[in-house]
Amino acid sequence: MNPYLVLSLLLFLVGTTGFIVKKNVLAMFLCVELMLNAANLAFVAFARDLGQLQGQIFVFLVMVVAAAEAAVGLAIMIVLYRRRQTLNPDDADTMKG
């Protein structure tokens, strides 16, 4: 098996675990970025295995999406931080039930 695929799977697992255990919005967001990049690595590795160019092009599209997501996400975090002075998602608990 392609070693890059193993690395990609590891990255994905680290990202997933991190997202679940971390208690900081920024760290959780970084974990999501890790997962997206794991998918990128998988795309490139598969594209090389298959001898195609497609998979490598997808990576650029994903990068654009990730950048847009970062812009929106950081803005949302800043708005919340101004209100609550905290980045712990567990403090965002106004609604219950």
């Binding site: 695929l5 990609s8 994905f12 990202g15 997933t16 997202f19 919005v25 959780m28 967001f29 999501v32 997962m35 997206l36 794991a38 998918a39 998988a42 795309f43 590795a45 598969f46 295995d49 298959l50 195609q52 497609q54 998979g55 997808f58 599209l61 994903v62 999406v65 847009a68 997501e69 929106v72 996400g73 803005a75 949302i76 975090m77 708005v79 919340l80 209100r83 609550r84 998602p89 965002a92 608990d93 106004t94 609604m95 039930g97």
Partner: protein, 481 residues
């Protein structure tokens, strides 16, 4: 892409051009022009609908190098999304002026969300599906947090963003695995390659699993639903109305295309997974709705349960099942928009009056609004003579015909369970006295009234003669398979 193909995408171009124009109207337009923002949005939607209607009866074809499919299914969902965007814009205008969030970005984001949903439904390539869902998601993350000074809105936006982007990453990894297993992201190529190889490639099943998790998050299926109640409760009411119907329908559309067009070879596997998801979604959604005292939150859980019903049609995966699912999507859209429309009409400044107690004695205080809400709740519960009944009848009927008797029985039992919480609102509205000190209802603006009235009429009409819409849904589901 030839010029001919570009013409087929004109509805989307119109939406995007109007979105750009709205963004420019915000800084450069005169303050008095504010009222026109909603009008421009509705005009753009109407223009796009006109351009779309010209495509009626065209031969189904793939364009953009086999990434976009123009067929009955695409037309159906583009129509549905245009209607959703237009109605949400009308519901928004007065609400936004009252809450001081009447800004060009709001309407621009509604339109970009609409074009994202359309892309997701038209797409015949996993990458384009992903991008469509992302355009939709990014727009709705912002819309959910549009009341910047409201802490609940901030929280809704944060929760939606965190779990949404997590789901996106899972979806993308699923796409990568499917690509690795089949060597392509185009639906037809995936289908052909899976059939050619005889046995199923090892990476395809995990890929399918991750895809289902990712899309399940977006649709709000149990156990990926944890964000739904908080986001629906915290977001501004018109945005909630939009989110309850738009992204859900887009997710179902993408799911239908992926499963029926790309992975019919794995049908035994995904039927089993989706069977379980449908049962969980219906049961937990209804059970949680039983104990809610906030009407908006109750409807959020009810929306989860309704997604479970629609999923029944996907599990059945016969032509009839798909048709029933599309038909129910139309009815669900109308019911949901009317229900949330009443909520936002009655909620008062600050979007505060959403508790069950606020609905006590409403039958006397606001008879028309109470009647609209009452009929809609009856339809959501699936009482005969309403569209909700017809939709469920065809859905569960298709399940029985295809041999999913157990699933149909569970779904019917769930409908019975749901009657309890829908009727509790009715009891509050018609059988309880308004507590002292309850302020009078704000006057409801004429456009909102018009939407509520048309919606209620449509619900009743679909309950009596569903043939036309059923035929439309049937024509649209031809695109699948």
């Amino acid at each position: 892409m030839t010029l001919d193909e570009l013409f087929l995408l004109i509805p989307q171009w119109i939406l995007l051009a109007a979105a750009a124009a709205l963004m420019l109207m915000e800084p450069f337009g005169r303050p008095a022009g504010r009222r026109r923002l909603g009008l421009v949005t509705v005009a753009a939607v109407a223009a796009a609908a006109y351009a779309l209607q010209l495509q009626w009866g065209l031969e189904p074809r793939s364009i953009a190098g086999g990434m976009i499919r123009i067929d009955g299914f695409s037309l159906f969902f583009q129509w549905l999304f245009l209607v959703i965007a237009g109605l949400s814009a009308v519901l928004s205008t007065d609400f936004n002026q009252r809450e001081g969030i009447d800004r060009g970005e709001y309407y621009a984001l509604l339109l970009t969300a609409c074009s994202g949903m359309s892309l997701a439904a038209m797409s015949e390539d996993l990458i384009l599906t992903f991008i469509g869902i992302e355009i939709l998601s990014l727009s709705t993350y912002i819309l959910a947090g549009f009341k910047r000074r409201d802490i609940a809105s901030n929280e809704a936006s944060l929760k939606y963003f965190l779990l949404g982007s997590f789901a996106t990453a899972i979806l993308l990894y699923g796409i990568a695995l499917v690509y690795g297993a089949t060597g392509s992201t185009q639906y037809q190529a995936i289908r052909a390659s899976a059939a050619l190889q005889g046995e199923i490639p090892a990476l395809l099943l995990p890929g399918l699993g991750l895809l289902l998790v990712g899309v399940g998050f977006k649709i709000g299926l149990v156990p990926f639903h944890s964000w739904v109640p908080d986001v629906y409760e915290g977001a501004p009411s018109p945005v909630t109305a939009f989110m309850a119907v738009g992204p859900k329908a887009a997710g179902i559309a993408a799911l239908l295309r992926i499963l029926a067009e790309a992975l019919p070879g794995l049908a035994p596997d995904w039927t089993r997974i989706l069977w379980l998801l449908a049962v969980l979604t219906m049961t937990l959604g209804n059970a949680a709705a039983l104990v809610q005292s906030n009407v908006k939150r109750m409807l959020a859980y009810s929306a989860i349960a309704q997604a479970g019903y629609i999923l029944v049609g996907v599990v059945v995966h016969t032509r009839e099942g798909f048709t029933a699912a599309l038909f129910y999507l139309v009815i669900y859209t109308v019911m949901s928009l009317v229900a949330f429309g009443v909520i936002l009409a009655l909620s008062g400044p600050g979007d505060r009056r959403v508790h069950l107690d606020d609905y006590a004695g409403l039958g006397r205080r606001a008879p028309y609004a109470a009647a609209a809400m009452g009929i809609t709740l009856l339809a959501l519960a699936g009482i005969p003579l309403t569209g909700g009944f017809m939709g469920k009848f065809f859905l569960f009927g298709s399940a029985v015909k295809a041999g999913f008797v157990g699933l149909a029985v569970i779904a019917v039992l769930n409908s019975v369970l749901s009657v309890f919480y829908y009727f509790r609102v009715l009891v509050y509205m018609y059988m309880k006295e308004a507590p002292g000190g309850t302020t009078d209802i704000d006057p409801v603006s004429r456009p909102v009234w018009a939407i509520l009235a048309i919606g209620v009429l449509l619900i009743l009409w679909l309950g009596v003669s569903p043939d036309r819409f059923l035929a439309l849904a049937g024509y649209s589901s031809l695109g699948l398979k």
